[in-house]
Symmetry: C2
Subunit: 479 residues, 2 copies
Amino acid sequence: MSIHGGRGGRERLVVIGGDAAGMSAASQARRMRGPDELEIVAFERGHFTSYSACGIPYWVGGDVSERDHLVARTPEEHRARDIDLRMRTEVTEIDLAGGRVRARDVETGEESWTSYDKLVIATGAAPVRPDMPGVEAPGVHGVQTLDDGQALLDTLSATRGRRAVVVGAGYIGVEMAEALIKRGFEVTVVNRGREPMSTLDPDMGRLVHRAMEGLGITMVNDTEVTKVLTGDGGTSLLERSREPGGGRVRAVATEDAEYPADVVVLGIGVRPATGLARAAGLPLGAHGGLLTDLGMRVRGQENVWAGGDCVEVLNLVSGQEQYVPLGTHANKHGQVVGTNVGGGYATFPGVVGTAVSKVCDLEIARTGLREKDAERVGLQYETVTIESTSRAGYYPGASPMTVKMLAERRTGRLLGVQIVGREGAGKRVDIAAVALTAGMTVEQMTALDLGYAPPFSPVWDPVLVAARKAAAKVRAGSR
Amino acid sequence: MSIHGGRGGRERLVVIGGDAAGMSAASQARRMRGPDELEIVAFERGHFTSYSACGIPYWVGGDVSERDHLVARTPEEHRARDIDLRMRTEVTEIDLAGGRVRARDVETGEESWTSYDKLVIATGAAPVRPDMPGVEAPGVHGVQTLDDGQALLDTLSATRGRRAVVVGAGYIGVEMAEALIKRGFEVTVVNRGREPMSTLDPDMGRLVHRAMEGLGITMVNDTEVTKVLTGDGGTSLLERSREPGGGRVRAVATEDAEYPADVVVLGIGVRPATGLARAAGLPLGAHGGLLTDLGMRVRGQENVWAGGDCVEVLNLVSGQEQYVPLGTHANKHGQVVGTNVGGGYATFPGVVGTAVSKVCDLEIARTGLREKDAERVGLQYETVTIESTSRAGYYPGASPMTVKMLAERRTGRLLGVQIVGREGAGKRVDIAAVALTAGMTVEQMTALDLGYAPPFSPVWDPVLVAARKAAAKVRAGSR
């Protein structure tokens, strides 16, 4: 083991993690301070930097032809900006007292310490891999990293069977279901929740459920996968002879049933990869993510910042910390961290919980609080659900859209919006995202001057229709 | 002449104008108060009620097959809700002191007075018809009412020539240019301004200009039409014999040139139809529209309200009255007027100036102030223009989008946004519309939690990219 240190008058910034948050922070810090003032060392244990994990389902589904299209900036590009990027190098320990990190070369196993003046933790997320028999069998795939995506694609090409089971029906689950349909698989989605997309209320998830069935996807709700069945059994002798090693996935089992599977995709979400931070004694929240202040500095620390999928963020509507692993936040965090590390000033005030997704032509969006979120934080609310269309009803391509809106009792403050529809439905949630950020009431929203022309909206935008109805309900409830 | 009056204990509401604002007001008043409490009499001089004038270009272009699809509610439907609707009846005088209006049956010419307790003026807009030779010639069409649209369609079918000239390149002009292209015409647009879409700054209008040329539309800017040339001359003897009466349009002339035309469409905008109001001595603003308070009551009047295309509205960004004839506002006005007339409470706080439009697949949007609007009201500002894409760059169908943003110097308050792009560009302006309403700074906007997924947006939404750049410019300008 060697110790790297001694760097003259320059400060050294060490970044752990080479994806969105970490490399955005490094790049922004570099923009703020040149190499003569700040040395930047970044460690990444994988093969890639700055890639779009959110794009993996579209690469698997064939919409994106090349893995490299998902890479926003390569290691070489980072190095060209005077970032000392160490690929395939895993940080194994943070020594806060000593101001240094220990890193291991993944290939050689060699370890060394690197000292820092400022540290950025951007260790990201790890997929939840349920602890059940068979989950490590060949043919069972997570889809968190580009390496995962490549492995899944290799399996899809090699497998002769056409039956796929997706475990989990959140964003990744439904996007992977679509990808597999596009690859010509028969897809079954096994979901623990009452309806798919548990980030929506079940009444809205039900719309997603119906649409998925319409696409030929078999939805199994309210069911937990208990084990992965492998090897001998359903597979023919011929197939087994072609896939030596046996023990390959052949089905997933729940309490009541078995679902044959030639490939299984785990889409049950991710959790913060905060083992390092935990071992170093850094403060973690209820969801296991690092806790930071508004400048993304780790709470109680002078010279440690964190961002991306390893932190918890403030939900501005609930007033509580939340875990929201999403590339758009990671990029913002990186920007804020890099600015502050570079001696500037920036904050990340929090999120309102906006997310959009699609399954084939179905667009699904949400922001703010669901009913159960509101209840959890002690908010009473009114809800309305309305049906409208994406364009003027008479304009070609007008498609139905369902909007659910939650408003606080008495104050009428907007609490949340969920939208399910076709083209034009998803990004309409941004109207509500901005209104939530501004703390608007639904009554105020009824007067919003939104873009109107027949190809873009009915004369009352669906969000306004919902706001009007919600405002009326709040007024009625106040009597 | 007879006098209608004497109505027992009921109040009588009289509504002048049977389109969006008037009939929304009538319907909302009816919802608030039943026929035993409130009698509602509405006068409409035309053949239709509650129709979408904004839809006329799409009907002319063939996207909307039937005129009746543009009618949201027929006279019969209004009557079924106990509204005494008098079609083809034109109000010719308002007697404020006497609390009565004089109306004339358009067909019989018979006139009568009707007294009111409450009056709603919703007389709409009249197309600007330039005072030049030949403007009344056959083949020259405005497109303000359904009757106008039908007349134009009749001409398009009857005309053998395929050359169309559109005068004006605002919303109606560009939409009509597209409609005529779809009908198989060669289209020339003659525009007084430097670039089409003068509701945009010229640098953004330039993008529309290029796109229109790409569609095969000939754009002639910086040129005023001085006369319409008719009759004999270019037209063959054969044609003249088929179109008896002669004097038909054959070209439009400017100072320097002539543009052959088999049909001419006037798309140079509308002005408030406030002749009646002016004659009655009601207060009009600088743009000729009625002036109301926030509850849409005509200023200085106890029992007269107004809404729709005949009023001026407060622009919340400039703090000044503006004339914005748009169906979405007319509907909101009607809602507010009807509520107040019915004894409730509602306000229309104002507009931020949002508008969207399209020419073929080009989407054009704006909200807030242009550079010259800001200058006019004494605001100093920074501007940025950025290029981004509608979806993640690697996702199929990602198309370029240009966003221009204006922010106030020092405060950094958002002043305006203009967007030109393809699918997904237009309605993005709503993000800025809500932010303007909330009085956000561009710095605050950089943290907005907008919907992100590769099919919907790059990881930094184009509006966020613009906000970041604008915020940096405001900071730099404050040094």
